[in-house]
Structures are given as structure tokens and as C-alpha cells.
């Protein structure tokens, strides 16, 4: 079987259910692939692993991928299983925040490590400086969890629909106590969880062939997961080596993930791409990318895979 290494963006969880399902259900094997899935974690930069030869394929968010491309690592999006963005900003209602206009002077928790681009674009959209001044917002680098909101150290924090939001709820908040801003609704959604490879590798036919089979099997996995969310969650759970994930949480996450992958057959929708690029280019004085990227995506693989 052909070997292939996949570097995930984050730890083993239902966010990556498609790949674990494909492996567990033998979809990769059927395509004569031997796939190694490397879980990520905080401070693992998938593009770096890719450049260092530690992986053939990575899962990453498009803003980070495009920024990296500008840094000289020629990432190309070859498939996009996630159709919509799951990012949200969640605020405690008692802070009096009702709309983005109320952010001024508030403290917001943000993920960094390349995950801050959507947020920064949104803020420059709103014309809010992020330097902590009177006229803008104070930004905190938020850790892995939702504590800043619970401890009232931040007025709002970043969450994903499928993960952190539910942790806030689990912590005892009622949905009524919270005000939620989805990036999708604010018109600043950017593409998440795409499949990326190095541009140079696409010139290699053998690699393209392997990649095609990989994407095909992975999408099969995703569709299976969408249809059998609970089983998919259990598969993820089996693959979690840390033994820390819980069934309840993963099943719920899988349910939410299915909403995000719905509507994608794996091929990148150029319209989504254009919207993402536009959002990123509008980043005010310090845009995430400085010019329209070229060759940052291709349908070459999905075209073959989805015939």
C-alpha cells in the first residue's frame, strides 16, 4: 500500500471524524493507501510539519494557509470538506453587549497561533483598533478553554459551534445568558479545515494519484460520518490516545460538525474562496494577506476524485 501521512490541526476529536472513519472503516485500505494520522495540538503548526517533511497532507484553515503561502511555503488547497465556518464570538449578556457596536472598550478573548486572522479581519471591518486603547477593544490571548468567560476575565471569547460553545453551556450557562456572534452571520466567515499540500508535489504524478485516492476515501469517510454521527464519534473516541475525551461531548460535536460539512462534496467552491480572500485583504492597515494569491487552490484532485 502507498504510504501517506496526514497532519491534523488539532487534537483527536470529532472535528476530524471523516479521516478517522475512513481509516477505521477501511476506506483508505480500499484505495490501497496506508495513512498515518498525526494528531495536532497547541503550538503544532501543520505547515511547518509539511515543510519539514513530517507530513504529506495537512488540515488547516484558509487564512493561515494563505498567509503561509505569502511566507514562501506554497500551500495549495486541494479539497474543502468544510463548507461553512464554525467560529463564533460568545459574550456574557450581563456585559451589555448586544451588537458589534458595543465591543468598544470591552475585553475579548482570541485564539492566536494563526487562528487570529478571521478575528482581526472582522475587527478592521468594524473599524475597531485592537491595541487596547479607549477607542478599540482589549484583546487577550485565550488559552485552550473557556475559563476566561466563566471567570469573568473576558467579556467575550472565541468559540467553535462544535466545541467551546458547549463547554460554556456545560459550565452552567443558559443559552439565554449568552450573546453569540457567528462569523457566518457577520459576513466575515473564512474557510476552515481544508486539505492542503505543497505546490511542488502536485507536479509529481504518483503523488497526485495517491492524493486523489486519499481525497476520495476521506470524503467517503466524511459522508459516512454525516450519516452515522454517533458511530463516528465512537470511532474518534477509540482513536483518542489521551483517554480524555468523553462520549457525550464527542457525539454532540459530531452533530455540529455534520452541519458544517453539509453541502460540500469536497470540491472547493470558488465563491467561498473569493469571499475569504476578500475578507482577508480588507484587513485595514495590517491585512492578513497583501495581494490576491495565485494558484492557492486547484480542482485538479477533486475533479478526478469525484468523477
Amino acid at each position: 500500500a502507498d504510504k501517506l501521512t496526514l497532519q491534523l490541526k488539532w487534537v483527536t476529536q470529532a472535528q476530524f471524524a471523516g479521516y478517522y472513519v475512513a481509516q477505521d472503516k477501511g476506506f483508505y485500505e480500499e484505495e490501497d493507501l496506508d495513512v498515518e494520522i498525526k494528531p495536532g495540538g497547541p503550538d503544532i503548526a501543520p505547515p511547518q510539519v509539511l515543510a519539514g517533511g513530517g507530513a504529506d497532507v495537512i488540515i488547516d484553515w484558509m487564512p493561515a494557509a494563505l498567509a503561509t503561502r505569502e511566507k514562501g511555503v506554497a500551500l495549495v488547497n486541494v479539497a474543502q470538506p468544510f463548507k461553512s465556518s464554525g467560529m463564533m464570538l460568545v459574550c456574557r449578556k450581563e456585559t451589555g453587549i448586544e451588537s458589534p457596536e458595543d465591543f468598544k472598550g470591552k475585553t475579548l478573548g482570541v485564539w492566536f497561533f494563526g487562528n487570529e486572522y478571521p478575528f482581526l479581519s472582522w475587527m478592521s471591518h468594524l473599524g475597531l483598533p485592537t491595541d487596547g486603547g479607549e477607542e478599540g477593544v482589549t484583546v487577550l490571548k485565550q488559552g485552550f478553554n473557556v475559563d476566561p468567560l466563566i471567570q469573568k476575565q473576558a467579556d467575550c471569547i472565541s468559540t467553535m459551534t462544535y466545541n467551546e460553545y458547549w463547554q460554556v453551556i456545560d459550565a452552567g450557562f443558559e443559552p439565554d445568558d449568552l450573546v453569540v456572534f457567528k462569523y457566518e452571520d457577520q459576513g466575515v466567515a473564512t474557510l476552515e479545515d481544508g486539505i492542503y499540500v505543497l505546490e511542488d508535489n502536485l507536479k509529481d504524478d504518483a503523488f497526485v494519484d495517491r492524493l486523489t485516492r486519499f481525497v476520495r476515501a476521506s470524503m467517503k469517510g466524511w459522508k459516512w460520518a454525516e450519516e452515522n454521527p454517533d458511530e463516528a464519534a465512537m470511532i474518534v473516541l477509540d482513536n483518542d490516545a489521551s483517554g480524555a475525551q468523553t462520549e457525550k461531548h464527542q457525539k454532540r460535536m459530531m452533530g455540529e460538525i455534520a452541519k458544517l460539512t453539509a453541502g460540500s462534496n469536497g470540491a472547493l467552491d470558488p465563491a467561498d474562496y473569493e469571499r475569504t480572500v476578500k475578507t482577508l485583504l480588507e484587513g485595514g492597515s495590517d491585512p492578513v494577506i497583501t495581494k490576491e494569491p495565485e494558484g492557492a487552490w486547484t480542482h485538479m484532485i477533486t475533479d478526478k476524485a469525484l468523477q
Binding site: 494528531p39 503548526a45 466563566i150 452552567g172 490516545a241 489521551s242 483517554g243
Partner: protein, 309 residues
Amino acid sequence: MVAVDPVANLPTARPTLGARLVGGKTVPILTVVVALVALWYAFAVYLNAPWQLDRYAKSEREWTAAELVRDTLNQERPVLPSPHQVMAEIWKTTVDVRPTSKRSLVYHGWVTLSSTLLGFAIGTALGILLAVGIVHNRAMDKSVMPWVIASQTIPILAIAPMIIVVLNAIGLSGILPKALISTYLSFFPVVVGMVKGLRSPEAIQLDLMRTYSAGAGQVFWKLRWPSALPYLFTSMQVAVAISLVGAIVGEMPTGAVAGLGARLLAGSYYGQTVQIWAALFAAAAIAAVLVMAVGFAHGLVLKRMGMAR
């Protein structure tokens, strides 16, 4: 017999039964533990109370002090979990599951321990070698030492993920990259301590060797090495502890797959304070055992050298 007791000026108690109990380790440790646990409970109530009060306020519930204490000590996501919650979690993850299971702290502890020990061994050896070089070679003393120091100011923990990626890129994987991070942290205390220790012989002791026209190797084995042992063991106690920290941090970027580091991380990621504390305790327990083991070895060696009076 000679008065070397550091507290020689205190009245020395005759070994009655009570005194012997107090003189042993059990009673003191128990006393301190009980005091700490009491303190801990107090803090847990204090730190968890605001959220609990918030709850009460939200549900507009009447509450009594006893209820408050009970509730603060049994929250699901406490700011500071109470000792019994942590103990229950530890019990659940060590005794109630197979040691080979992924949910067992024993399993994760072993993963961490193995890379700790490997890193510590390499680090100690490296540290001793460097110290020997520094003490014997002027060029090394002058040029390497400043850079050894500078190397430690590189926040290796901060770039551990990058290091692991780079090591992977040159073909090193498995336990070794993690161990190398431990090594990087643990060799430094050994170098500093050993340089001091190898230089600690009195002038007259060195002069004696000179009169024998002893070779550098002989001076080393017969004088410098024995004189340096107290420094070495003290440094090793520090090194083994840091080594564990290194191993735990090194587990983050391996994809947080297994080990106490992964456990801690998963705990923080899901806001499972109890799980964090359980893992912290496991780590601390391993550290304590390792440190005490080194201290015990120290005592043995001193005794064999006739220096324990």
C-alpha cells in the same frame, strides 16, 4: 558521635516512644499533610464560592453556609477542586482501570517516566562530560561556558514543537525527541554543579596530587570526582525534576497523544480542572519519588565514602 547535627544547639530529646514517633517521618509528614489539606479545603471554598453564589443568585435560591461549603467542594468545574474530588479522580484512573488502558494514569505516567529517565540519563552524562571539559580545558572554559548559559536562556519549552518537527525532519522520532528536550533542560544544573564541585578541592589537596606528579586522569578520579559528588547529587535532584517537566512539555507537540502532558493538556482543553489536578498530582508524585531516589543514592554513596557522620 561528633556533633554535626545542623541543629546541634537544640535540646536533644531522649528517645521515648512519643519522641521516636515524632522523630520518625510518619508523624511529621502526616501533620504537614493534614495541615495542607485543611488549608486546601479552605482555599477551595474561598475560590469556588463566587461562582456558586452566582448560581444561587441566578436560580434565586436561599442558601445556608453549610450548603455553600458542600456545593463549593463538589462543583463539576471548580476553580480549585477539593482534595477528595482529586483523590476520587486519581483512584478512578489508577485503580479502577487497567494500567494499560488509555484512561489509566499509570499508563500515562509510565509514558512520561520513560522519556524522563532517558532524557535525564543522557542529560546527566552530557552535563558531566561538559563539566569535565570545562574544568580541564581553558579554551572550553572560556568559550563554551558562556554559550552553555546562553543555550539555557533559549526558551526550549517554547520552541519544543519546532524542535520536534526539526528532529522529525532529520529522522528522529518516537521517544527520543521528547527525551532530548528533557536532556536539554537537565544537563544545565549538572554542568553548573559539577563545574563548581570539580573545582572544590582545597589547594592543599591538589598540591598533594601535584607532588605525586599525578596525571589529569588520576587527579580527576582520585580527587576531583569524590569531592564533586555532593554537588553532583544535589544537581541531579534538580535535574531529574526539570527532566520530568521537559518530558511533559515535550508531549504537547508530539500530538498530545499520550503521557501526563497530554493528559494535562486535554484537561485544560476541556476545562476539566479535576483531571488537571489529578495529572498534576501524578506528575508531582513521580517527581517526588525520583528526587527522593536520587537523595537516597546520595546518602548511600556518602556512607560508602565514610563521609556520613
